[in-house]
């Protein structure tokens, strides 16, 4: 089921691109960009949702609410849910697009691995996956050579007898850039979230680097292209703070207006839950939409 719906179509598209460009390395690059473009609306939605959530968590009302119900977790949760509902913000708004993207990303990875069949058994299985309208005898097996690399083997560029893992270095650098670009600003934010993102930004590049060093170059190439495409997508959305990556750059992205408008809590009775004034008519979501900054194209 998984193979038929996801991996097989992906593999065939990858093979078709390879047939056209006659280079598997270029095909991996184009295919990764293509998939990233197709999933761009989901990425954009995920970013918007997470921005809305961050804005809400930074608002005085939210902070006050945290302070007020710090000893009553149940009540706090209840109030948070009320606020989410009122503002039209879903706590899962940024997770859902990511969850939808997961099968696509896994399928992309698996299709690249399948296409790089290196043993007879893997070739038999790949041949079976090729749609009848593609002439498998003309495509298979795929020539894995790209620039100085053998895409089916871990990559090393031999300079003066020393094997330098260029792709691994590129994977590490691009992962650093990507995690920094995606990392939300920590000032005034949630401490736990900040700790989590900081840990991720430290360990992810190392983890990806080790994987790129060990695995085939084709996969490392995919990591690099995927990271760079993600950075480009963020840049296109105007969400990139380049000074985080290049400290000598002083310019920060334009300070965007909050994506949602959250009125402050009125002073009220301790025991009675506050009556939250509607943000605007007809709905908070519509108000939030009006207030959202225009995206850079």
């Amino acid at each position: 089921m998984w193979d038929t719906l996801i991996v097989q179509p992906f593999t065939n598209v990858l093979l078709m691109i390879t047939m056209v460009v006659k280079n598997f390395g270029v095909a991996i690059i184009l295919f990764t960009i293509l998939i990233k473009l197709i999933t761009y609306p989901l990425t954009a939605r995920q970013l918007k949702s997470s921005q809305a959530m961050q804005d809400m968590q930074k608002s005085p009302r939210y902070v006050k609410m945290q302070e007020k119900y710090k000893d009553n977790k149940e009540k706090l949760a209840e109030e948070q849910m009320k606020l989410y509902k009122e503002l039209g913000v879903s706590p899962f708004g940024s997770c859902l697009p990511m969850l939808i993207q997961f099968p696509v990303i896994i399928g992309l990875y698996q299709s690249i691995m399948r296409a790089m069949a290196s043993t007879p058994l893997e070739l038999v299985k790949l041949e079976r996956m090729v749609y009848p309208f593609l002439d498998s005898t003309k495509i298979l097996p795929i020539q894995n050579r790209f620039l100085w690399m053998d895409l089916g083997q871990p990559e090393r560029l031999m300079i003066a007898g020393i094997g330098i893992p260029v792709l691994t270095i590129l994977v590490i650098l691009s992962t650093v850039v990507q995690t920094r670009v995606m990392q939300p600003p920590t000032e005034g934010g949630n401490d736990q979230a900040a700790a989590m993102t900081n840990s991720m930004s430290m360990t992810m590049p190392i983890l990806m680097g080790v994987m790129a060093y060990q695995f085939s170059a084709g996969l490392a190439l995919y990591f690099v292209v995927s990271n760079l495409t993600t950075v480009a997508q963020y840049a296109a959305m105007g969400k990139t703070d380049w000074s985080r990556i290049f400290p000598w750059i002083k310019t920060k992205p334009k300070v965007s207006k909050p994506s949602i408008v959250i009125p402050d809590l009125p002073d009220e009775d301790e025991d009675e839950p506050e009556v939250i004034e509607k943000v605007s008519k007809p709905s908070a979501r519509a108000a939030a939409k009006r207030q959202r900054p225009k995206m850079k194209k």
Partner: protein, 358 residues
């Protein structure tokens, strides 16, 4: 959860992932490499090479004693008296003395790719194909004699005939090399990738080989000319295995399970029949009995030369390897089944099975 604790948990989790990825071996799926000599059976699979006792199917030893996750063996061992030559996916070719407890005599480590195909030996010269697009010729003292560099990974066993080394290339050709120095004598282009090792017939002084493009050809060894090409009027499927030559008949199969007999001289068809299932594995000849057919679904059948089934058995798992025939047994390697190797006598009776210990 405090910030410090959360950070520690995350770091431990990611460190675990990191270590797990460090510990990963080569990412490739393949089948057991079986080779048999006189009273010797060797099986290469995952992290070990096993010597199997032909009497009972029990492993008498395994190499290495303690597995190394990066050292993966799929290439069948080349048996040479008291030694075997076997390559691994850690890019090493090993000469192992197997007269007693296995002892590594030497390791050839100059390759940069995996050893998937069985090595070949002629006199003092060991010819080993490698995925790094090289064919390596090494002498018995582990000195590199020559290297031939090609355009594609070499994954099938070379053929040595007189002063020539003949290798199948995935780059849609059969390459003829000078055995003395590895220089190319000629390359014969085919329409599809050639995975099956070439087969040589002394009578016609020709090489027979099939390709993934659904063709089966006879190549004159001296001239490199394609004497005839057989594609069964365009209906032949991909050919993944060597033919057998029996009683003047060249018998081979395609992956769809079509079994065909041709005249080696003319390429004209004697007969053909359908074995009844997908068949990436090749045929094996059982002296005085007939030929064994192994379907991917695990159906093993011995056919007489009249194409009548003599016996048929089903093994658990999928079969992609050509069965190996010893003096008394048919050995079938399977993956994703209850056992790795199944041994049958020539009457089709199960003799033993082999499953590696965890």
């Amino acid at each position: 959860m405090s910030k410090k604790l959360l950070r520690s948990v995350l770091i431990v989790l990611l460190a675990g992932l990191l270590l797990a990825s460090c510990a990963m071996g080569p990412r490739a799926e393949s089948t057991p490499g079986i080779s048999a000599g006189e009273n010797q059976i060797f099986v290469s699979y995952l992290n070990y090479v096993y010597e199997i006792d032909p009497a009972n199917g029990i492993a008498t030893w395994r190499y290495p004693e303690k597995s190394n996750i990066k050292q993966v063996f799929y290439a069948p061992a080349l048996i040479d008296g008291e030694s075997i030559y076997v390559g691994d996916f850690a890019n090493d070719l090993l000469k192992i003395n197997v007269s007693g407890t296995p002892t590594v005599e030497w390791i050839f480590s100059e390759a940069k790719g995996w050893y998937q195909g069985k090595a070949a030996k002629d006199g003092n010269l060991i010819i080993a194909p490698n995925s790094d697009r090289n064919i390596y010729a090494i002498d018995e003292s582990n000195t590199l004699v020559w290297t031939h560099h090609g355009d594609f990974a070499y994954i099938s066993e070379p053929l040595i005939v007189d002063d020539m080394v003949i290798v199948s290339s995935q780059d849609r050709k059969v390459v003829f090399l000078n055995k003395a120095d590895g220089t190319t004598i000629r390359e014969v282009e085919l329409n599809g990738a050639v995975i099956a090792p070439p087969f040589y017939d002394t009578q016609t002084d020709s090489v027979f080989v099939g390709s993934l493009a659904g063709e089966f050809v006879r190549i004159d060894r001296q001239s490199g000319e394609i004497v005839w090409s057989f594609d069964d009027s365009g209906t032949l499927g991909s050919v993944w295995a060597q033919p057998i030559l029996v009683d003047g008949q060249l018998i081979f199969n395609d992956k769809t399970g079509k079994i065909i007999s041709l005249s080696p001289e003319t390429g004209l068809q004697n007969w053909q029949f359908i074995a009844g299932g997908s068949m990436p594995a090749g045929l094996a000849w059982v002296e005085g009995k007939g030929f064994v057919v192994a379907l991917e679904d695990g159906t093993i059948t011995l056919y007489g030369m009249d194409r009548q089934a003599i016996w048929s058995r089903i093994v658990s798992g999928s079969v992609y390897n050509t069965p190996v025939v010893t003096d008394t047994m048919v050995l079938v390697g399977a993956i994703k089944g209850d056992n790795l190797v199944y041994a049958f006598d020539f009457q089709g009776q199960p003799v033993w099975t082999f499953k590696p210990e965890k």
